[in-house]
Amino acid sequence: MMVLEVSAIEVRRGKRTIVSGISFHAARGEVVALMGASGAGKTTILRALAGLEPIAAGSVTVPRPVGMVFQFHHLFANMTAHRNVWLALVHVLKRPRAEAERRAAELLDSLGVGERSSAMPHELSGGEAQRVAIARALALEPPVLLMDEPTASLDPARRGDLAATLRRLAVEGRTVVVATHDAEFARACAHRVLSIERGRVTG
């Protein structure tokens, strides 16, 4: 069963076409890697799937909410790691605060950063910040998780851990789309690798 359907989307900024004719799909429990050099349009595709970029043509079918982990994490700078994770549970899903805090603590524990929950974002290392960002994205239990260049701030050992984490998420039934230029990482975690060049799928 296809969870994610992307057909012939085009994204423009002003007169410039950033990506065009992008089509792919992903099934439940599948990890798909978008491979390509910097500037190939990977980030733009993820942003379009997350609803952050208007689509000029084509269509996207994706169940909402979509979980998104940004390359630079974008943790909310004015709150602790813990509050970053429970914020949307309380303010979007209107869960009781105590329940949301409990759920956020579980997520942080499961990603190995439970002991960092009272830290502010600027006090976290790159790897810690990324795991908090994953916890934040997973808090709303999205069927689809998007990750942009997740290996950029990780050493090789951490990359292995991350690949394992993504596979575990897939086994739990999530669909994961990863944009990366790291071929080794893509092979380690993805069921399928799509090559993006100059805004098009080439393989």
């Binding site: 609803g51 952050l52 979509v66 974008h74 909310f76 700078a77 004015n78 303010h91 934040r136 709303l140």
Partner: protein
């Protein structure tokens, strides 16, 4: 031969400048004292101008007028900016102790002016308990009102000029005005429906003042003035200006009988608070409660105006970032209008300009003026701070499904506030000091009270130090509080 500029004249010619009598006065005081000649504004006219001419002629010199602010005229003459000041200057014990004072050349009565409808019920200051009574700051009339405040419970309101007390009396902002009869007659002439009570509240005298070391020149001037009293030249001057009355011959008789420099008492008022030589410290102790009360006004006004400025600033900044284009254009225009015009002008417009439509109490007008003015600056700080929050933070909020308002309230505004805190503290300290401008619309705050104090004791040294200390005591903790908040925010 063409006249050479004075800085390059040879010594013999330079003696020419000594044959000038430099005299100071405030042309804003207006007729009949000193005013710019309506037909030639580069010249001044008035009875004080003619007395200066009379003194210069008696000394064999030519009179040269130098403009001086009324409230700083004592300090200017003491510094040597001019030889003598003549501008309806009142004889006071403080002036006698600090300056060389001429014999009095005019006797005036302090007159109570009320609205015609009140002429039966407000006959004396004692009838005005709990009511607002206006006058000029740093005058005999002000001392009268301060006495009446303690004795009769009236509320003195001080103005910077002698026109608005009467117009505010017509509007009902005050219930009476106390000033000398020359100003009172002019006030009644210019404003319909006002009435001058006949019984004088006090009697005072106009004198010329010179630097304290200048007693030799003062004595020569006294001789000239006495001659002019004898031969009718002073009478002719005052008759020309239509202020001659039966009080003057009586004054002149007393001055001519007694050859001492001070033939008559400064005024019919008992010298307030002891002898003039009581010393600056005693004066400081006497004025400290008033200064502290004025400091409370400064603090209250600053805090309330800042709160208003922050509130409006946030709304304007939000409108400029999130609003539709017409709203954005309107708000941009508003900010430029407020930032591009002087605060002083805005205060005048709010208090005096709008008085025909809405009569704002002085404190409210001051609060609105400062608040509106600073809201323009605050809005620019917040706009800059909101725009400085990285767009990634907002993207992250959107992908979590937070609404625009939630993103603003939970993420963008708190982060912007941290960026805005330092410039906001800066603005608050600036506002604390700008609040001194509101004295032009009769609010007596710290700086105004200090200038009244300084005029009363005839020196700025001690009042200036006391005033500066209070401002510092107010602004330094503020900076500390702001730094503490910043630190907490960084660690929170």
């Amino acid at each position: 031969m063409a006249a050479a500029p004075s800085w390059m004249c040879p010594p013999a010619a330079c003696a020419e400048t000594h044959s000038e009598l430099r005299w100071g006065g405030d042309a804003e005081g207006g007729a009949p004292y000193v005013e710019a000649d309506p037909s030639d504004p580069s010249r001044v006219v008035g009875f004080d101008v003619e007395i200066a001419g009379l003194l210069a002629a008696g000394l064999g010199r030519s009179a040269r007028f130098i403009q001086a602010g009324f409230t700083s005229i004592d300090a200017s003459v003491a510094r040597g900016d001019f030889d003598i000041a003549l501008s309806g200057i009142e004889d006071t014990p403080a002036r006698r102790s600090r300056l060389a004072v001429t014999v009095p050349y005019y006797e005036f009565r302090e007159v109570l002016t009320v609205r015609g409808a009140d002429r039966g019920r407000f006959r004396t200051l004692a009838d005005l308990r709990g009511r607002h009574v206006a006058t000029l700051g740093a005058t005999l009339a002000y001392d009268l009102l301060v006495e009446a405040q303690a004795r009769d419970g009236i509320v003195p309101i001080t103005y910077e000029d002698d026109v608005h007390p009467y117009s505010d009396l017509v509007l009902g902002r005050v219930d009476a005005v106390v000033l000398d009869q020359i100003l009172a007659r002019r006030g009644v002439r210019r404003n319909a429906g006002l009435y001058n009570q006949d019984a004088p509240l006090a009697v005072g005298h106009y004198v010329g003042i010179l630097a304290p070391g200048n007693t030799a020149l003062r004595d020569r001037m006294n001789a000239i003035l006495r001659d002019a009293m004898r031969d009718g030249r002073l009478e002719a001057i005052f008759k020309r200006w239509n202020v001659w009355n039966e009080d003057q011959p009586r004054l002149y008789a007393r001055v001519l009988q007694d050859a001492s420099p001070h033939p008559v008492a400064p005024s019919s008022l008992a010298p307030a608070g002891g002898t003039p030589t009581a010393g600056a410290w005693k004066a400081a102790r006497r004025y400290l409660p008033a200064l502290l009360r004025a400091a409370v006004v400064t603090v209250a006004l600053s805090c309330l105006s800042m709160a208003l400025a922050v509130l409006l600033g946030v709304l304007i900044a939000s409108g400029r970032i999130y609003g539709a284009p017409p709203l954005r254009a309107a708000l941009t225009g508003w900010v430029e209008l407020i930032r591009g015009t002087p605060l002083l002008l805005q205060l005048f417009v709010l208090y005096f300009g709008l008085a025909a439509f809405v009569q704002l109490p002085a404190f409210v007008a001051a609060l609105l003026g400062l608040g509106l003015n600073y809201s323009a600056y605050e809005s620019e700080i917040y706009r800059g701070a909101l725009e400085a929050v990285p767009p990634g933070q907002l993207d992250a909020g959107r992908t979590l499904g937070l609404s625009r308002l939630q993103i603003l309230m939970l993420i963008r505004a708190p982060q912007a506030f941290r960026l805005a805190l330092a410039p906001m503290t800066n603005d608050f300290v600036a506002l604390l000091k700008d609040s001194s401008l509101v004295s032009v619309i009769t609010v007596v705050e710290l700086t105004k009270q200090t200038s009244i104090f300084a005029a009363n004791i005839g020196s700025w040294v001690l009042p200036g130090i006391m005033c500066a200390s209070i401002y510092l005591l107010l602004s330094l903790p503020l900076a500390r509080v702001a730094r503490a908040i910043e630190r907490r925010w960084r660690l929170a």
